[in-house]
């Protein structure tokens, strides 16, 4: 097995056994990135990576290493990295060399990981196809005519395409789970508040959550161990103990009750996707789980609710990008007004502007109650649906995305694009943890199975996913290379 086919656990074993060094692994990945045409990276940090790899090798030699020491990863370009360009996929921050580290960046550095570079993404994490990046679209490693999903499209393509061992992602409305699904990897969006948002460029603050994107559930557990935890710099970070997420991977799932929301299997769901998802559910049944149909009656309103709440928050969050203290400033502004208008109009892409305007409108005098407040109330209803559901079931399963990866450039109008998020948005609105795990193929493209758990049930989700991956080999498939 080639280095880039190995999981974190396997690479760590090889490093321990001196089969190869971190410098060798890192060079292997850097070479692959150089040859790749997936456009998965915005910035490749070769020099930094090699020096981190060298430092990791020293630690391994000294015996002061941990399981992530020397493991190369792709860091979504939404996390601030000191001294390294942090663009969030936007022209607005094309010249932004972050003067500080995000808490997640710091934690991964503390774990001795090797950062290969900053992964491509939809501008400010707004998008479901990674076509909204200032740095160009990312291609799906399974079929380069297809989108990889978004917004963490670069991260998903990097892992699926063997350009990094794992990646970080962020998920505001499905941005970890959907690209993970479309690229055939494992992605976990933890409970809101589990991973610090400090230094993670905000899209919609009450929905954003960072998580791991990996080859396997076991790897996701290993990375989450490093990413999770209370952070005093983030008021919304939970003061909740971090368990060892690898500790319960091998628990039996005998007696597990799976809820299948009937609303997740209604019209709009592609037949091929439905088939693979149901096959996966059957696999769980054969492992001793029982299945129950449930209802999340308000989940139909997740799209309008989300596309009010998220734009409202983002319209305000992105106001700081004004060309005054950092980032893009237009050429020779005539006056202050001109500075604001041109810097922002030239610096932001079309989708970002659209969402900023929706938010500005929904919060404006006279419309606040009808849009923002109304959406905050339906958000409550959507959240309550899950509360009721988890009285009856241990985990909710369903599709991640209604279709497999679609053609680059094929979806043009924003509303059709938003519909692709229909199954992922509710978990963000409620703040619940969710996963996507590889569950089969339809038309030679990966299909993901979504797992939604109760609050703080990451260990349980990882256990369920790991058990599935002990019985199936979908997660071991890799795209063919020329």
């Amino acid at each position: 097995m080639s280095i880039h086919q190995k999981t974190i656990a396997e690479l760590a074993q090889g490093l321990k056994d001196k089969e190869y060094s971190s410098v060798e692994i890192t060079q292997h990945y850097l070479d692959r990135i150089k040859q790749s045409d997936l456009n998965a990276f915005i910035t490749v940090t070769d020099e930094l990576a090699m020096s981190q790899a060298q430092a990791a090798d020293d630690k391994i030699a000294a015996g002061t290493n941990n399981i992530l020491t020397g493991i190369p990863y792709a860091h979504k370009d939404i996390f601030c990295t000191q001294g390294v360009k942090t663009s969030a996929g936007s022209k607005m921050l094309d010249n932004f060399i972050s003067p500080y580290d995000a808490s997640v960046s710091h934690q991964l550095n503390q774990a001795d990981t090797v950062m290969l570079g900053k992964a491509n993404m939809d501008e400010f994490a707004m998008g479901s196809s990674n076509e909204n990046s200032f740095y160009g679209a990312v291609k799906n490693p399974w079929n380069t005519d297809k989108i990889p999903g978004g917004s963490s499209g670069g991260s998903a393509a990097a892992v699926a395409g063997g350009l990094s061992c794992f990646a970080t992602g962020t998920d505001t409305g499905g941005s970890i789970r959907q690209p993970a699904s479309l690229c055939g990897i494992t992605g976990l969006k933890p409970t809101y508040g589990r991973v610090s948002r400090y230094g993670m460029i905000a899209y919609a603050s009450s929905l954003d959550q960072a998580g791991p994107m990996t080859k396997t559930a076991q790897d996701a557990a290993i990375v989450l161990n490093a990413m999770a935890g209370f952070d005093e710099k983030d008021s919304t970070s939970a003061e909740q103990d971090v368990p060892d997420y690898t500790a319960h991977l091998n628990n039996s799932i005998q007696g597990l009750t799976i809820g299948l929301p009937k609303e997740f299997f209604s019209e709009g769901l592609d037949d091929g996707v439905a088939t693979e998802v149901m096959n996966a559910v059957k696999e769980f049944e054969s492992m001793g789980a029982t299945v129950k149909e449930i209802s999340l009656p308000n989940s139909a309103y997740a799209i309008p609710t989300y596309y009010i709440v998220a734009p409202c928050e983002c319209s305000s969050n992105l106001s700081r990008l004004d060309g005054v203290r950092y980032g893009y400033r237009c050429d020779s502004p005539e006056n202050l007004e001109d500075l604001y208008l041109r810097s922002r109009s030239e610096g932001f892409g079309a989708e970002v502007k659209r969402r900023i305007m929706i938010g500005a409108y929904a919060l404006s005098a006279g419309y606040y109650d009808a849009y923002y407040l109304k959406a905050q109330k339906t958000r409550h209803l959507i959240s309550d649906d899950f509360k009721k559901a988890f009285d009856e079931v241990d985990v909710i399963m369903g599709p991640v995305s209604p279709t497999t990866a679609f053609d680059l450039g094929s979806v043009k109008d924003p509303v059709s694009m938003y519909l692709a998020d229909i199954y992922t948005l509710s978990a963000n609105l409620a703040g619940l943890p969710g996963m996507s795990i590889p569950a089969g193929f339809s038309n030679k493209l990966p299909v993901g199975l979504q797992l939604i758990g109760n609050y703080w049930s990451e260990s349980k989700l990882l256990n369920i996913a790991h058990q599935f991956q002990q019985q199936t080999d979908w997660h071991q498939q890799m795209p063919q290379e020329d």
Partner: protein, 476 residues
């Protein structure tokens, strides 16, 4: 037509915390530009606010001091607008659920006292500063002040004159210093007033259209700006026009207010709950402990001065009008309580006059409270007369030493030796036979002549009481 003025004030008090309201940068005034603007204050991408416990505690203190309802669950909102000194493009403030709800405070103008309602007080972050005269083509932005905690104290429109508005502002100004939540420094902008001013025909109950006056940095300017605005509105209304609701900037140099309508245009602040901050919950325990630690408030101190020290209402009010003044007075009382009234007279008279003349604050008085107290003690124990005391005071002011030292070195101790005074009187009686005759024939007024002569002869040191007594004896 007779008009009634209606004024409400919005006071921004910077809370005297060490660090900012949402970041751990220093709030110190007067540092190098932008040296105290950290990543959070600059609104770098990805940064997040965390609330300072002291800002919360100080806001609660204020609420308790004006007898207000404390909202034990309160929310931070974002007020969205673009301005170069507002780094995030929004100000974190409190809109629907402020930390302090309805309260009240009593003010006095001359003999009249009235209660002014405090509508609410909420926590928010200050903006940075724009400097417009440093460069020709640029405004320069210093963000050191950005993120300094502010308590915005909003009054009811209960004031009916500029004088009342000033009295209210001074009362709040004194209060925030008493309870140690704000240094009250108006020059440095720690305490700022905006005034909402409207007028209406006397007797009308509904409010007229108001203008908001900004940029007022002294009580004197507050009074002037309000009077100016009242005149302006009267002129408009009497000419049949109507007042426009707008923000007006007071220019102290030109003594005028001018419209900032451009800034108001299309202002839609789009308030919504800040998703980076969670609801603040204040426990009963915290409330009780802050209540227990509250210092004596001005109103309580004033009552005590009247009841325990026998001061009159007016004196007690003046002495408690500023914390520094009250502190000075109370230091003087230490061991000198029986002379309280005398202490009050000297602080409000001689000392205040000298401070005013030299434009000094009481904190910078060249005569310390203990030293002045010693001087008062010497009047009290008849060592010197009140008249001589004024000379001693002047010498103390000029740094010639303590009261006792000056009395001693200048030999100002009163002559209380009967024999010495008798000798002086005898001489005066012998040399002024005609005046003695006048006295004997019933001219009581002439006694003053003898007192004057005797004082002159004793260089003012003769004990006046003794002198009077002996003179009467000798003359009759």
């Amino acid at each position: 037509m007779e008009w009634e003025t209606v004024i409400g004030l919005e006071i921004h008090a910077q809370l005297s915390t060490k660090s900012k309201i949402f970041s751990s940068a220093s709030t110190q005034f007067g540092q190098a530009p932008n040296s105290q603007a950290c990543a959070v204050d600059l609104g770098l991408p990805g940064v997040l606010p965390v609330l300072n416990v002291e800002a919360v505690n100080k806001a609660i203190k204020f609420g308790l001091a004006v007898n207000a309802h404390i909202n034990q669950r309160n929310i931070f909102d974002r007020k969205n607008y673009f301005y170069p000194d507002l780094p995030k493009g929004y100000q974190i403030s409190q809109m629907d659920l402020p930390i302090v709800g309805k309260g009240e405070i009593e003010i006095s103008v001359g003999e009249m006292t009235k209660v002014v309602g405090v509508t609410r007080a909420h926590l928010e972050e200050d903006a940075g500063k724009s400097v417009h005269d440093m460069f020709n083509e640029f405004s320069a932005i210093d963000l050191n002040r950005a993120g300094t905690p502010l308590l915005e104290i909003v009054s009811e429109p209960d004031m009916r004159s500029a004088k009342e508005a000033v009295a209210y502002a001074k009362k709040i100004h004194a209060l925030v210093q008493y309870i140690d939540i704000c240094d009250g420094n108006m020059q440095e902008g720690s305490f700022r007033c905006d005034a909402n001013v409207s007028i209406r025909p006397m007797g009308q109950t509904e409010l007229g259209t108001r203008a908001e006056l900004k940029n007022i940095n002294s009580f004197k300017f507050l009074e002037r700006a309000i009077n100016l605005e009242v005149e302006r509105q009267q002129d408009i209304l009497e000419e049949g026009g109507s007042v426009v609701q707008e923000t007006r900037l007071y220019d102290a140099v030109k003594h005028e207010t001018r419209s900032m309508r451009s800034k108001e245009e299309a202002n839609d602040y789009r308030y919504f709950p800040d998703p980076d901050l969670l609801p603040v919950e204040i426990s009963d325990e915290l409330l009780d402990s802050i209540k227990a630690d509250l210092p004596e408030l001005p109103v309580q101190k004033k009552a005590r001065f009247v009841t325990d020290l026998g001061l009159n209402e007016y004196d007690a009010d003046v002495l408690t009008s500023q914390k520094s003044l009250a502190d000075y007075f109370e230091t003087m009382l230490d061991g000198n309580e029986k002379n309280a009234k005398l202490c009050a007279n000297w602080v409000m008279g001689e000392l205040s006059a000298s401070l005013n003349k030299n434009q000094l604050d009481i904190e910078n008085s060249p005569i310390s409270a203990n030293d002045l107290s010693q001087l008062i003690a010497r009047i009290g124990d008849d060592t010197i007369s009140g008249k001589i005391a004024k000379d001693v005071f002047k010498a103390m002011w000029d740094g010639e030493g303590s009261a006792d030292e000056i009395i001693k070195s200048k030999g100002l101790k009163q002559v209380t030796d009967m024999g010495a005074i008798e000798a002086i009187i005898d001489e005066i009686i012998a040399n002024n036979a005609p005046q003695v005759e006048q006295f004997k024939s019933g001219n009581e007024k002439i006694l003053g002549f003898f007192v004057g002569q005797a004082m002159k002869a004793s260089q003012g040191k003769a004990n006046p009481k003794l002198l009077n007594q002996l003179l009467r004896e000798k003359l009759s």
